[in-house]
């Protein structure tokens, strides 16, 4: 696929097209020290051919947004198990807008009760993947979101 691109594949195939390599930042926000799940997701995305930047634990939304901008990722995937998802995702969305990084998609995972879904979506989350999701569902969610957004 990459070779086709290096061979000078034209960019005019339309806006609804994913970049050749999808880049994802997998992050943990706030006081949540459990990153086994985040690492498993990172591995799943790697095996699906994506480039995954892993940032480590205890990050602030501001740190994550700055890293996502420098790494030019298509998606920020955040796993949260701490219960403080509503304020943290709201802050993440605010930082993204403030930095003019509205092109970066946000996918939420972890332990998130359904009654909080509207608040997350309102705060700028693009998709919420429930914890029982199989690996292929995580992959297609990201691929579909990036394809719909288009190449940047």
């Amino acid at each position: 696929m990459r070779d086709a691109n290096l061979a000078g594949e034209s960019l005019s195939t339309g806006p609804a097209e994913a970049p050749d390599t999808i880049r994802v930042l997998v992050a943990k926000l706030g006081l949540d020290g459990h990153d086994r799940g985040a690492k498993v997701v990172a591995r799943i995305l790697r095996d699906a051919g994506m480039e995954v930047v892993y940032t480590g634990l205890y990050k602030t939304p501001k740190d994550v947004v700055q890293a996502a901008i420098q790494e030019d990722v298509d998606v920020i995937g955040v796993s949260l198990l701490s219960g403080s998802h509503v304020p943290l995702f709201r802050e993440l969305g605010r930082c993204l807008r403030e930095e003019g990084a509205g092109h970066i998609l946000v996918v939420a995972g972890g332990v998130i009760p359904e009654q909080d879904y509207p608040a997350l979506l309102e705060g700028g989350v693009d998709a919420i993947v429930p914890q029982e999701a199989r690996s292929d569902l995580i992959v297609t969610t990201i691929t579909d979101l990036v394809t719909a957004r288009g190449r940047i």
Binding site: D3, D47, I69, D72, L121
Partner: protein, 330 residues
């Protein structure tokens, strides 16, 4: 049934032409810098003119290569250097390379884990890149990424290679100053006299000097260098510096040694020679890439040669010459 809940406002974004990014890169805007690096990585033909313009604006930054075995402590060392340079008010650009999976093409880029705090505090620009099949410790677009950071005003620009084995020495033609980081406790002193990576150092650093084994590694390296160990074309014996990035011990000395090497390159005129070597490698590397690309555009011709070679009707050397049009196809 497991379902993903989506926002009702699907996100859309437009492609910004590379020519429009140049001004923002030169002004140091992070989003534009990052995007430009991605376009170099993807090899978009549309970005070629913009990258050429940025190349003309570069050439100011001191490019430092840091290489060493996996786990030697390269990322931790880079993090400590970012902090040391930030204390002098210098903004560091970092390109950190990690390997791509040979099977899926995906990658886990984990160098940031150890850099995020110092990077945020020190105003550094850290970019992780995957090798994408390129061998030698760097990626095809590493040097273009360096150009972008250089043009954006980052100085120094540090290239952290993948964890290398014994002969991934490509960084030597990518950086002005090469720091080879050795970790204590990995093998006996015969490792120190082997050919390969140890020969490319302008500066040897030994990590984890808080550990007792570090002294043995330092003395093995010094012993090797006592027999003559400067890089061919270099008129300066490389120092061996024990450092501990965790405690911050002697990081200042390493930074000063890097600075002294840069001063030496500038005063002795060696910088010009290194820049020529860098230019040569880049031209030939790009030419090789363009060749490959050309043959992939015409897969039938290549396919014919592959069949002939596989069936032993032709040998690979003749097939390669035929592909280049240097030999009549029998």
């Amino acid at each position: 049934m497991t379902v993903v809940t989506h926002s009702t406002r699907p996100r859309r974004a437009a492609y910004v032409p590379s020519a429009d990014l140049v001004k923002d890169v030169l002004a140091g805007r992070a989003i534009a810098i990052a995007r430009m690096i991605s376009r170099a990585e993807e090899g978009y033909p549309e970005a070629a003119a913009a990258l050429a313009e940025l190349y003309r604006h570069g050439g100011k930054a001191h490019v430092i290569g840091i290489t060493g075995v996996p786990g030697a402590g390269k990322s931790t060392l880079v993090s400590a250097l970012i902090k040391a340079y930030a204390a002098e008010g210098r903004k560091v650009g970092v390109i950190a390379v990690d390997p791509s999976s040979p099977y899926s093409g995906g990658a886990i880029l984990g160098d940031r884990v150890r850099m995020s705090e110092t990077a945020a505090a020190g105003g550094a620009f850290v970019r992780s890149m995957a090798t994408r099949g390129h061998l030698g410790g760097l990626t095809r677009a590493t040097l273009q990424a360096v150009d972008v950071l250089d043009a954006a005003g980052y100085d120094p620009v540090i290239i952290e290679t993948v964890g290398v084995g014994q002969d991934e020495v490509e960084v030597v033609t990518a950086a002005h100053t090469v720091v080879v980081l050795s970790a204590p406790g990995l093998g006996d002193d015969i490792q120190a006299i082997k050919a390969g990576i140890l020969e490319i150092a302008d500066i040897h650093a030994v990590s984890k000097c808080d550990k007792p084994e570090a002294a043995a590694t330092v003395s093995a390296l010094r012993g090797m260098l006592a027999l003559g160990g400067e890089r061919p074309g270099s008129r300066r014996a490389p120092p061996v510096l024990p450092v501990s990035a965790v405690s911050g011990e002697r990081i200042g000395e390493l930074k000063d040694a890097i600075g002294a090497h840069w001063a030496h390159l500038n005063e002795s005129g060696e910088r010009v020679e290194r820049q020529r070597a860098m230019g040569r490698t880049r031209i030939l590397g790009t030419a090789r890439h363009l060749f490959q690309q050309k043959f992939q555009e015409a897969p039938e011709t290549l396919e014919r040669q592959i069949r002939a070679v596989a069936e032993r009707r032709m040998d690979p050397a003749v097939a390669a010459r035929a592909l280049l049009g240097w030999e009549e196809t029998p």
